[in-house]
Every structure is written in structure tokens, then in C-alpha cells.
């Protein structure tokens, strides 16, 4: 037994806490290393070993990333692409999930099975026809092209989440709205979608992460337009032919991570509710 203030801890408990603390440190060490590296000089990164405290914080690394490497522009591009992707994804997947979850029609089950089957198609598998189509539609080398491609792919899980959630809501809510004179879209946008807040939060976070961190699609779609690059593609610029600017890259990576962390903390509770709610069904 061990006494800390008013608490008496058993040794097994102390051991568990110690093991978990070590595991947590191992888990977050790369993240801490990245922040630390962003404040070190290039030579200090490799000479200081595991030490995370910089000798003298090199804030100019951030300035180099933000101004010289044009991360301010990449940040705007990434924000626009991510917002566009998330909004379009929420609208399309929630509508699809609503119809699949609430309406019965011939071929619904085979369609759901087919939809679920597409999860196993590798992401890069469809890139050539997608680029070809975007090119013919004049969307290649444009932010809209990136948004439409990212909003239109990898949404099966989101559709199934919405479908499971909507199917659990009482049908009387729709019927009450219909009796009051609401049409399909009014019922959906005014009654059903606001009730799906937890799933909207879940899909927002999942899609936000996917869109924010996506490298492949923005790389291919902005190949000849460097000004349209996103943060993840822009990061690639730190890798030179002969040397890599590790401290600048670490600063850029830290900049690109901050919005992700903020959005997760803001929507954390709803995210958990959405996942739990969907699993419960």
C-alpha cells in the first residue's frame, strides 16, 4: 500500500499507472519530437539524441515555413479544400444514408452490400479514370477538382453511419412534419439532419482528417499549379535533391497539425456520441 494525500493506492495500481505512463510517453514521443525539432537548428536535431528541450528556440523555423515556403497560401488552400469537402460530404452522405436508412425500395439490400464492398477497393485504384474525367470536365488543376474528388470518394462508412442513425429515429417525427406540410427536403434539413448531430460531428472529424492530411489527390490535381498546393503537398518542398530542411519541415508539420487538434477538442464529445450511437444500433 502507498499513501498519497487521502488516497491509498495498491501496488498493482501503482504498477499499472507506471506502465501506462511509459506507454503514453512512447506513444506521444514522435509528436513531442516534432514540436521540439521545429524549435531546433538542423544540426541540433541530430546531435541532441532523445533530448526534447531545444538549447535556444529557433522561432525563425516557423517564419521560414510560413513565409518562405508559402505555407500561408497552402494553409488557405487546405482550409478551402477541407471545408468544401466536408460540407459536400455531409450533404451527400447524410442524404444517401437517410434514404437507405428510412426508405424501403427494391434492391436496397443488394445496393447496401455493393456499397459495403467498395470499402475494399484500394484508394489509388481509381485515380487514373478520375484524373481523366476531371481533365475532360476542365477540373484538373483547380481547387474545385480536388474538392469534388475528395468529397466523392471514401464515403461508404459515413453513409452507413448515417443510415444506422436515421433508421433508429422514430418515424413519427417525419410523419408529424409531413402532416404539417413539409416536403422531402424540408423534413430532411429541418427535422432529420439536426437530430443527427453526433453523426454529423463524427463524419466531420473523419472527413476533416482525411481531407486535411490527403497527399495523393492534391498532389496529382495540382501538379502544374504549385500555387494550389495543400499543406501536406507543400511539405514535400522541404525535401531537396541533396538535403532536407528537417527543422523547417517540423515547423510546417506543427503548423498543419494545430487546426486538427483544435477541431478534435471542439467536437470530441459529439464524435464519441456519434460513434457510440452508431455502434449501439
Amino acid at each position: 500500500m502507498m499513501k498519497i494525500g487521502n488516497y491509498t493506492l495498491r501496488w498493482q495500481m501503482v504498477l499499472t499507472i507506471l506502465v501506462l505512463t511509459v506507454l503514453c510517453l512512447v506513444w506521444i514521443y514522435p509528436f513531442l519530437w516534432m514540436i521540439s525539432a521545429s524549435l531546433k537548428t538542423q544540426s541540433e536535431i541530430f546531435s541532441s539524441g532523445l533530448n526534447l528541450i531545444p538549447q535556444e528556440p529557433q522561432w525563425q523555423n516557423y517564419q521560414r515555413a510560413w513565409v518562405d515556403a508559402q505555407f500561408s497560401r497552402y494553409m488557405i488552400n487546405t482550409v478551402l479544400i477541407t471545408i468544401g469537402t466536408v460540407v459536400l460530404t455531409i450533404i451527400s452522405t447524410s442524404l444517401a444514408g437517410y434514404v437507405l436508412g428510412r426508405y424501403t425500395f427494391i434492391g436496397r439490400r443488394p445496393f447496401m452490400a455493393l456499397l459495403a464492398g467498395t470499402i475494399f477497393i484500394p484508394a489509388g485504384y481509381t485515380i487514373i479514370p478520375t484524373v481523366d474525367l476531371a481533365n475532360k470536365l476542365g477540373l484538373l488543376n483547380s481547387l474545385w477538382g480536388v474538392i469534388l474528388v475528395m468529397a466523392g470518394t471514401g464515403n461508404v462508412i459515413h453513409i452507413l453511419l448515417f443510415s444506422a442513425y436515421f433508421s433508429s429515429l422514430p418515424k413519427e417525427l417525419e410523419e408529424a412534419a409531413v402532416l404539417d406540410g413539409a416536403g422531402f427536403l424540408t423534413v430532411f434539413f429541418r427535422v432529420m439532419l439536426p437530430l443527427a448531430g453526433p453523426v454529423v460531428a463524427t463524419v466531420t472529424i473523419l472527413k476533416f482528417l482525411g481531407a486535411w492530411n490527403n497527399f495523393f489527390v492534391p498532389l496529382v490535381f495540382t501538379f502544374s499549379r504549385p500555387d494550389l498546393r495543400t499543406l501536406s503537398v507543400g511539405m514535400f518542398a522541404f525535401v531537396g535533391e541533396n538535403e532536407t530542411d528537417w527543422s523547417g519541415m517540423a515547423a510546417a508539420a506543427t503548423i498543419s497539425l494545430i487546426p486538427v487538434i483544435i477541431i478534435f477538442f471542439v467536437m470530441q464529445r459529439r464524435f464519441v456520441e456519434g460513434i457510440a450511437g452508431a455502434v449501439k444500433q
Binding site: 422514430p170 413519427e172 417525427l173 410523419e175 408529424a176 412534419a177 409531413v178 402532416l179 404539417d180 406540410g181 413539409a182 424540408t186 427535422v191 439536426p194 437530430l195 448531430g197
Partner: protein, 361 residues
């Protein structure tokens, strides 16, 4: 009532659903024809699966009939969607929009109709006042009690000034005390507004307390239509007699008939009972005696029964008594004024002959 007063007319309404897992169909509503009069409070009453809710959903337009017609004020509304029927429905689970305030819930229908904001505000305030919900407009439904939620649901329905107000077991989620209170409120509100109402319930007390007429349904068909008194005192079938209240059934034969009465022998005693149906001498029928029609007396001339159970219920004493193979339920009112018999004893079983009702065997 005249044809002119008919607000809603159901003509040979049939609804079939595909059988689950099979290729056949299940007939949930089987050739129902019914007139509902203007200002009337009509209740569809029956056990689970009798087709009452399906009938209500057909009327509301949430289901389309397999065949038959629905006429509202003489106009065929069968193909019309729910929002074109000028009806409102109070749901069993209230169906209040949880993300909207009470005010927005009540005013939602007016908003979809495109009414101006100021008119909506006036009408909602008036409606909330009528339902005793003044000052609760800003609350969310989950901040209200069950009774208050029920009132909001009523306010939301009434504000649309529908030609017909539909109720789908609206009190079944409330506790017993609140149910009685809300029943009384619905009753007085309906009488005050004189709004044609169709109410679905499986609770016979609710049906009797609220209705001008009760429609007893079974197996998708109408068993009987009548006032609560008619249904209770003169049930058309053994099913109705058993479903509405409690009843004792005694198989008897009709000795003779004369001037609308029948001579029968019930519990060892000759009596004359009024005839509600076309029975003839020699026919085997069933005599129905409600528990309150029976009484126990220490009289050796009466049929002797053994008391199997005595239950003191405050306002009455209920006995289960046995005579040979048959058991009877006897309800004696006001036990303070009567002798309470103990279990195991033997006593005479008496009845009010005028209250005996004959049913087909």
C-alpha cells in the same frame, strides 16, 4: 344524423400487407365501412393487431388502401398525400421535434404554410395559453413533463385548425393518474372546440369516457359500433362483451319468445329478458351477466355457489365463486353497507334479470 353531417366516410376500406418472409398477404383492415359525423368523438377500440392503428393511418394518408375509398366532406381524398388532407395527428410518443423549442414545435406547421412571423407568434401564444403552457415557449421538449409534452403535441395539432383531429393512443405513455387528468382535458377541449375527432386506443375505459361512439374492432373488421352504453350493455358478440369490461357467460336455451322478450332459465331461475337480436324459441344462446349484475345472498332458494376468492378493492368487493364447472366474477359495491363473505363459504347467487343480455352461442 343526416348524410349532410357526415364529415368522413370510409367505404369498403381494405389494407393488405405482404406477409413477412412469405409470398402471401395479411389483411390488416378488412372491408371497413364507417361514417364519422361532424363534431363527433369516435374511438376505434380493440386489442393489438385488430387493425385500428392501420385504419387511422389510412385516414391520415400514411398508408394507401389496397381497395376502398375515403371521403372527406363528400370529396374523395384516397389518393391525396397526408399534408393535403387537412387533418392533424397526436402521436403516441408525441413526436415533438427535440431540437426545437416548444414555441417552434407548435408554430412549425404555420411556418411551412408560409404564415408571417407576427401571425405565427400571436397564434402560438394563443394556443399555448389555451393548453395551459404559457411561459414554456422557450423550453425544449425534454425539459417538460410527460403531461406538458402531451399538451404541446395537442397544441401543435390544434393550431392547424384541422377538419379532423386524429389521436393514436396518446395517453399510453403517461402514468395512471396523469392519464385520467389528460383524458378529462381532451374530453373538455374536444367538446369546447367541437372538432371531429378519431381516437385509437386499446383502453376500454378511455374509449368509454371520451367517446360519442365506439367502434370495436377485431381481426381487421368492425365487431360493433355504438355509444359506450350500447356497447357495454348490449354487446353484439361474445368478443365485444369480453373486451369491454368483464362478463360472465352462461349457456342457456330460449324457452319461448313474446313481444320482444325471451323466457329463459338462468342459474336455476326463470326470467324474462329483452331481446336485442332475432332469436327464436328453442335456440341455444349465451346469457351475459356483468359482475355488478350478480350479487351474493344467504338465501337457500338461490343457486348455491362456493366462494373461491374474496378481494377487497375499497369501493367494491370482488368474489370469484364456483358452481359446478363454472366460475363467476361477482362485484358488490360499497362493502361498508354489505356483508363481506369469507373464502370457502357457500352462499346463494342472485342476479338482476333485466340486466341479462343474450348473445349468439
Amino acid at each position: 344524423m343526416s348524410e349532410r353531417d357526415i364529415r368522413l366516410k370510409l367505404e369498403n376500406l381494405v389494407k393488405e400487407f405482404p406477409e413477412r418472409g412469405g409470398k402471401g398477404t395479411v389483411r390488416a383492415v378488412d372491408s371497413i365501412s364507417l361514417n364519422i359525423y361532424s363534431g363527433e368523438f369516435l374511438t376505434l377500440l380493440g386489442p393489438s393487431g385488430c387493425g385500428k392503428t392501420t385504419t387511422l393511418r389510412l385516414i391520415a394518408g400514411f398508408e394507401g388502401p389496397t381497395s376502398g375509398q375515403i371521403l372527406l366532406d363528400g370529396k374523395d381524398i384516397t389518393p391525396q398525400p397526408p399534408n393535403k388532407r387537412d387533418m392533424a395527428l397526436v402521436f403516441q410518443n408525441y413526436a415533438l421535434f427535440p431540437h426545437m423549442s416548444v414555441f417552434d414545435n407548435v408554430g412549425y406547421g404555420l411556418q411551412t404554410r408560409g404564415m408571417s412571423r407576427s401571425d405565427i407568434r400571436d397564434k402560438v401564444e394563443e394556443s399555448l395559453g389555451l393548453m395551459g403552457l404559457k411561459g414554456l415557449g422557450d423550453r425544449r421538449p425534454n425539459q417538460l413533463s410527460g403531461g406538458q409534452q402531451q399538451r404541446v403535441a395537442l397544441a401543435r395539432s390544434l393550431i392547424m385548425e384541422p377538419r379532423i383531429l386524429l389521436f393514436d393512443e396518446p395517453l399510453s405513455n403517461l402514468d395512471a393518474k396523469l392519464r385520467v387528468q389528460m383524458r378529462s382535458e381532451i374530453h373538455s377541449l374536444q367538446r369546447r372546440l367541437n372538432i371531429t375527432s378519431i381516437y385509437v386506443t386499446h383502453d376500454q375505459i378511455e374509449a368509454m369516457a371520451l367517446s360519442d361512439r365506439v367502434v370495436v374492432m377485431n381481426g381487421g373488421q368492425i365487431e360493433q359500433i355504438g355509444s359506450p352504453e350500447q356497447i357495454y350493455r348490449y354487446p353484439a358478440s361474445r368478443f365485444v362483451a369480453d373486451f369491454i369490461g368483464r362478463a360472465n357467460f352462461v349457456p342457456v336455451a330460449i324457452d319461448s319468445t313474446n313481444n320482444g322478450t325471451a323466457q329463459i332459465n338462468v342459474l336455476g331461475r326463470e326470467c324474462q329478458v329483452p331481446l336485442q337480436f332475432d332469436y327464436r324459441a328453442g335456440m341455444d344462446v349465451v346469457a351475459m351477466l356483468r359482475p355488478e349484475v350478480l350479487s351474493l345472498r344467504e338465501d337457500p332458494t338461490l343457486q348455491q355457489v362456493q366462494i373461491e376468492q374474496t378481494m377487497y378493492l375499497g369501493s367494491e368487493v370482488e368474489y370469484i365463486v364456483r358452481s359446478g364447472e363454472q366460475t363467476f366474477v361477482v362485484a358488490e359495491k360499497d362493502p361498508r353497507l354489505q356483508k363481506v363473505y369469507s373464502e370457502g363459504g357457500t352462499v346463494g347467487l342472485d342476479y338482476i334479470s333485466e340486466a341479462v343480455h343474450l348473445l349468439p352461442a
